[in-house]
């Protein structure tokens, strides 16, 4: 049997990326934001929609959105993927794209996302009723799930509200260096965070991601072609996926996220470790996420994430820059933040 988990290290590269309508995009549909972001990302590489033969997409509610997308752009794909895994979908798309590009099944992969959830005004459709093991207890999903994880992490490791506030403040400081960030120009202090309204304890308003509009897109090709299309291709060295549960009560250890295992696989594929990393972009839907992911990806030991993010160590000027666009907490979060982590990482 072949060795499992073989990733085509460095065989593919990002050659284009763009965002559009981050913040409020009045009058634009989610599809408009996907399409415009895609056109701009293709422009970066000097490519046209007709050059694309694989699309990977996300949209807040149209579950055949990839068909509308290719119809809008005149793309004739040999592979389409609208795999939904939550906001992380686009990272999984990149994993699949890398394998399919490397095998020669596809030549030019376009990953795109758009959502006008802020200006559209909360018309999100609940697609399925909650299970009988969750529904009667009325958790705010996903907020209360992360709140429960935070309560457990605080209990086991003494993580404090101040440490979680450090994550929010660091994100805000990065946002204040990014003119495109939705919260650009609005200062935030630890004291502000600690005084913010509790939503689902221990999470307060400042522990939670924004609700914005926004679109994003990236273009991936094989490495040999990348050099012709971009001055500085961003090579994809490793990727991985894991799922541990659906409903929060089924999480095997509520202080350990699924990031642990694919993190190991991605680092192994890349031949790198946490100490080789200069900048981290991760999915900060809530402040506890940043702490959990830094632990689970090996940047610090389990339980030490709170101390790790303190004293501005992940903020501008800190030891390890994290979410340098301002993150889902202070830059952009149109429902799914995942693609923005990749755009920021390759910018």
């Amino acid at each position: 049997m072949m060795e499992t988990g073989d990733f085509p290290r460095g065989k593919t590269a990002f050659v284009g990326h763009a965002t559009h309508g981050m913040g409020e995009a009045h009058g634009y549909s989610s599809m408009d934001l996907m399409v415009i972001s895609a056109l701009k990302a293709l422009d970066c590489a000097g490519l046209t929609p007709g050059d694309v033969d694989a699309v990977f997409t996300g949209h807040p509610n149209d579950y055949l959105n990839q068909m509308t997308f290719i119809q809008q752009l005149g793309i004739n794909p040999r592979y389409m993927d609208n795999n939904r895994t939550g906001g992380s979908a686009f990272l999984v798309h990149a994993f699949a794209a890398a394998h399919l590009l490397a095998s020669g099944a596809i030549d030019v992969a376009l990953i795109a996302y758009g959502s006008n959830q802020r200006t559209e005004g909360g018309k999100l459709i609940q697609s399925i009723k909650p299970s009988p093991y969750v529904g009667p207890f009325r958790p705010m999903i996903p907020l209360s799930a992360y709140a429960l994880a935070a309560s457990r992490h605080m209990h086991e490791y003494g993580t404090t509200a101040e440490q979680q506030a450090e994550v929010a403040v660091a994100a805000r400081k990065w946002a204040n260096l990014n003119p495109d960030a939705f919260m650009h120009g609005q200062n935030l202090s630890i004291e502000d965070c600690l005084a913010a309204r509790p939503i689902s304890t221990p999470l307060r308003k400042t522990d939670c991601c924004l609700v914005t509009d926004g679109g994003a897109a990236v273009v991936i090709v094989r490495a040999d072609r990348a050099r012709d299309l971009a001055d500085r291709p961003a090579y994809l060295l490793g990727a991985g996926q894991c799922v541990t549960h659906n409903e929060i009560y089924m999480m095997p250890d509520m202080t350990v996220t699924g990031a642990k295992w694919p993190g190991k696989r991605a680092f192994a594929a890349a031949g790198l470790g946490p100490s080789d990393v200069d900048v981290v972009e991760l999915y900060d839907a809530f402040t506890i996420n940043t702490i959990l992911f830094l632990e689970d990806l090996g940047f610090c030991a389990k339980g030490e994430g709170g101390a790790f993010v303190s004293d501005g160590q992940i903020a501008p000027g800190g030891a390890l820059p994290v979410n340098t666009d301002g993150g889902g907490l202070s830059c952009v979060h149109p429902g799914m933040y995942g693609l923005f982590t990749m755009v920021e990482a390759i910018t």
Binding site: A25, G27, D32, I36
Partner: protein, 125 residues
């Protein structure tokens, strides 16, 4: 945010009594439905052009309804400009709509409905 809002613009033209579709300045190719860029090329040079409103039925179906509601037709019409659109043929019994029949556009933009274009049999046809 310098990108157009083509769906909004198409509807505004219809409300103003103009049946306009987009055409690429560089390729001369007509495009329907409205978009922010020409398909395939991605050219950002689409301009609105008023069309003749003349076309031909390309495909048709009659949808049955529970009586006393009448059956209605859904048609695909190919405009003389070369693009096709979904529509309905009015002014004739649905069962009489035929592929190949020449038709003429009529704008429906009254009321709260989405502005849209239907067709009637061309005069003299």
């Amino acid at each position: 945010m310098s990108y157009p809002k083509p769906d909004v613009e198409y509807a505004e033209h219809l409300r103003a009594g103009r049946f306009m579709i987009q055409r690429s300045r560089s390729s001369g190719r007509f495009v329907f439905h409205p978009r922010v860029a020409e398909p395939v090329t991605g050219a950002r040079d689409l301009e609105w052009v008023e069309v003749s409103g003349k076309g031909t039925v390309y495909a048709v179906t009659v949808v049955g309804q529970r009586p006393p509601a009448e059956p209605y037709n859904v048609a695909i019409v190919e405009l003389d400009e070369g693009v096709r659109m979904m529509t309905r043929v009015d002014g004739i019994a649905s069962a009489e709509v035929r592929i190949g029949m020449p038709v003429t556009a009529v704008i429906r933009a009254e009321g709260e409905d989405v502005p849209h274009v239907v067709f009637t049999p061309a005069e003299g046809a």
